[in-house]
Amino acid sequence: MVTSARESIGKVNRQVNKQRRHFATGRALMVIWGGIAAVILCSFAILTFSSANPSSPAGRIVHLEGEFKCPSCIDLSVAESSAASSISIKTFIKNEVAQGASDAQIKDQLVASYGNSILFTPPKSGAYLVIWILPFGLVLLLGYFSLRPILSRKDWAQSGRGSPNDPRSDDEPPIIEGVSGDLALSMIPLGETINHLPASYGAANHDVAVDGAETRPSQSLMSRALLALLHRSTSTSARKYLAIFGAAFCVAGVGLGLYTFEQGRSQAASRALESRELTQAIGYTYSGQDVSALRLLSLVLHQDPYQPQALAYQGWLLFQAGVKTKSPSLVQKGEQLVLDAIAIQPRYPDAHGFLAMIDLYVYHETAQAKKQFGEFLADSPSSTIRTDLSAAYKAATAAITAKPATTP
């Protein structure tokens, strides 16, 4: 029964194969694929011929809007954004296109006022070419190294086995190796004790004591080794380790517990809150609410008398109050606090900034102030404190202290 069915299937198979082969070698295939290629190429040709004129004003505007980054957003182009600045730039582009400016002129004008950061992609010139060329290099390199084995291969006919029409090639058994029958041994639950062990197992233990991945002993040997291990690692050994770890756990637990709770109650929380109060105080400082700022700063300093940021800002506020009320003692105290802050944290930029201003205000020492500004600029502003302001301030002072490029 079975054989006859198989035979008949085989017959049909052969017939079909003959047909197929005939079809494959025949012209039909060529004609069909030629047709497919012709249709696709023709459609493409028609498409490129009829495609919209890219230099129409509307098309140019759409294209240009996609080229510029929305200056007040992250990740968005002018086209995608409806922020006020994007609307301005959209209007600008529309006006310029209407007045007949070229794409390059529009781009140049925007770069002249915003800098390269207005471009949504890096310019395709100078050092920035790297990022435009590198992908090609990467693809080529990757392709070469990983496909070299394929490319350097001669032909399937010369490879050892498996002609392409060999149906066996896909019926290979799944590659799961190391099948063995010793599973019963390897599956013994840990808790069970093995009472009757042949004496030879103990001896085998020494043979397989150290074993790298490269030299694999035979399966049975390994199973024996396992049994031996099980035998050797009696419950006393396990208990010993458990006891050690249990004790370590308890000691570490108590110690760490005390530590965390202590930390939780005082430092960690105060650190989190301190930074919040500090930020708030600094905000007050810059918006002129000196009294609120001083109140918050003294709160922070009450918790940590050596908090450099709080010291610096308190000093700065006291100094200003001193100047306002013409009180030399307050001015001096303020200066001292700023100096303290620098002593505690020598590279705290804001403190250097304050000192620079004090030098200018009180002592009119431009050189000294410049030095302090230099310190201020050398250390990039701390990210936690009013990043926008300090960054702007950095840029501003850099621009002024630089020698004028075009002497007015």
Binding site: A84, S85, N95, N116, F145, S287, S380, T406, P408
Partner: protein
């Protein structure tokens, strides 16, 4: 990237070198990245700084006309603001203080705003400086303004000295003017 795709069947030396080079590259990458400052602090210096100021000339919100060149000979703070901008309200008292100190003049540009709310906004703080209307933001584009408040300090000869992003304070401005004077502007 441990995608060690280089297959060198021949010997272990090649792959060892490959591994070592990759590891060193990764180490360098990690050190490089770890020593960078946070991206949010990166600010590109404005390209119009140290150049002569783009012109501001046009109708003010109150109906007159004003031009930046009217203030030639004095330090001018060109302040881009809008009535809908929250942090502009924070800096307004500081601008008033700066204006009263007589160190320099303030010229406001009302960015993408309507006249009526702008007048009310300025009136609330007693700001009496001219505010040129810029409803389409075309002046702002020339100055490279992203979002108000942004301010520019312009020298008496009409050179842009600094760009300040975010609210300004009167004290800072006074200091900046002093530094500028010390540098011979």
């Amino acid at each position: 990237m441990s995608t060690s795709i280089a297959k060198r069947r021949a010997g272990g030396a090649g792959i060892k070198w490959f591994g070592a080079v990759t590891a060193i590259l990764l180490l360098a990458f990690s050190v490089f990245v770890a020593t960078r400052t946070p991206a949010s602090t990166a600010v590109e210096p404005s390209p119009i700084v140290q150049h002569s100021a783009p012109s501001i000339s046009g109708p003010t919100v109150t109906g007159g006309r004003f031009s930046l060149s009217n203030y030639r000979g004095e330090f001018v703070l060109v302040n881009f603001f809008a009535s809908w901008c929250a942090s502009c309200a924070i800096e307004e008292p500081q601008l008033v203080r700066f204006s009263k100190s007589g160190i320099g003049k303030v010229l406001a540009v009302d960015f993408q705003d309507e006249d009526r709310p702008a007048i009310a906004f300025l009136g609330r703080y007693g700001a009496n400086w001219p505010a040129v209307a810029d409803p389409n933001g075309q002046i702002a584009v020339k100055w490279g303004v992203s979002a108000p408040p942004e301010s520019f300090l312009v020298s008496p000869s009409g050179v842009v000295l600094t760009k300040i992003v975010g609210p300004v304070t009167a004290k800072e401005l006074a200091i900046l003017v002093q530094v500028a004077k010390a540098n011979g502007y």
